[in-house]
């Protein structure tokens, strides 16, 4: 049991390290899309919510799970759509001229 936690800690620290190194290279230009992207990605907690909602532990647990699935789905669906919408607006000068002509 303890080794599991140690392995999980490894994963956490390494993922944080990878995240730190990638995110410091994201230009300020894209900081808002970055935030909405990480928000959408962290909606992966939906996988925990799905298990809670579908396990039939108790009625209360199922209802809490359902609300959690709802909240996480809002972030999955809304988060990825709005990130895509924003990123679609960042265009090259040439691309703009093409679109205009």
């Amino acid at each position: 049991m303890t080794t599991t936690y140690i392995l999980q800690l490894y994963v956490f620290i390494l993922a944080g390290f990878v995240g730190y190194n990638i995110i410091t290279r994201v230009p300020p230009l894209l900081h808002t899309p970055l935030m909405s992207a990480t928000n959408a990605i962290s909606a992966i907690s939906i996988v925990g919510a799905l298990v809670t909602a579908g396990s039939r532990h108790s009625l209360l647990a199922s209802v809490l799970g359902m609300i959690a699935v709802t909240c996480a789905t809002i972030n999955v669906v809304g988060g990825f759509i709005i990130t895509d919408r924003m990123l679609g607006m960042f265009k090259h000068a040439d691309a703009k001229k093409d679109a205009a002509s």
Partner: protein, 414 residues
Amino acid sequence: MLTIVATEASGGSMTRMLLTQATYLAAGVFFILGLKSLTHPDSARKGMQQAAIGMLLAIVGTLIVEEIVEYQWIIAGLVVGTAIGYPLGTRVPMTAMPQRIAVSHMFGALAASLVGIAEYLHRTGPDAHEVLPRAQMAALGFEVLFGSLTVTGSFMAFGKLQEFLPGRPVTYAGQNAVNIGAFIVTIGLWGYLIYDPTAAWAFWAMTAAAFIIGISLVLPIGGADMPVVVSLLNSYAGLAASATGFAIGNTVLIIAGALDGASGFILSIIMSKAMNRSFGNVIFGAFGAAPESTARSTAGLTVKSITAEDAAIQLAYAGKVIVVPGYGMAVAQAQHTVRELAELIEKKGGEVKYAIHPVAGRMPGHMNVLLAEANMPYEKLYDMEEINAEFATADVALVIGGSLMKLVSEVKQV
């Protein structure tokens, strides 16, 4: 597909588990690649679409796990969530991004907290066959603690940005002492829970206290400090998601939460630096109380007022113009007017660049999005450090707060 899985349940449970884990691994890889794609605007869109596919894979991979025995609650949640999430993605205007993000931190944190609460109920309930191990209790407690304070904190930030709560700082004597005291008590309850995971009263008291801390943490913060708060809440929501991963033994949650936590942490540091405040000042909740020290003294400088006509003449004959947009421009919806002005200057042979302060909007990078929406090519948007040196060679620096219509018509005439 579900029926096939059901018939194979006895023999194929190992295969199923491996399949699920494979989708999680794929999701983790896609998420990291997606974030990596955000280092350049040309690759970003495609990368994030891949990340969305990773998410879809992980969801499908989860739907086949053995613990899930009924689907009605799941389907209800997915349907309601999509119905709310879709318009939140497609309809919200770019000026409302900060409150949109604040509310999504609230949803994310609420999901994490509820999973934690349900897990605690299950693991300490009548049908639990073993006492909750302390390490797991620590993760669960952390998840619920940070999740709950992010829920109310984000709600407060949302209210202030959406302006149904007072945007100015709400302060009272001894506020910091009260906040720090409440935080110590909450951490104490968390510690007690780790010592005795069966103490349900401590669990509920901790949850309630965390909700209250979230409110009192954001209460003293004004609108201009929101970029720091939103970044910090982003980090907290990520940490809560990561703790969920520890509590339920799910690696992809740990990875995604760590990425989110790191991102929010870095953005908070960048934002507080941009506002000339130390990160410690921000972390320890003193942030609304900081003095307005950023304004430099103007003593000894001469101020000359000029008319719109004069300004227009200067702009029309300028070789290099640097535009410094402020939040007032966004409030007045003047981005398109600014672009019109820039096009006029360019037509007359000038060059226009935009200098963007990190906290020019209401969240990190907000101003860039507003300008991109108004069709400014991203090559012309420069951040503070890139362009500061260029001010020396610029003919005109145009600092914009509010309306510009007059200036535009004057430049047209020239």
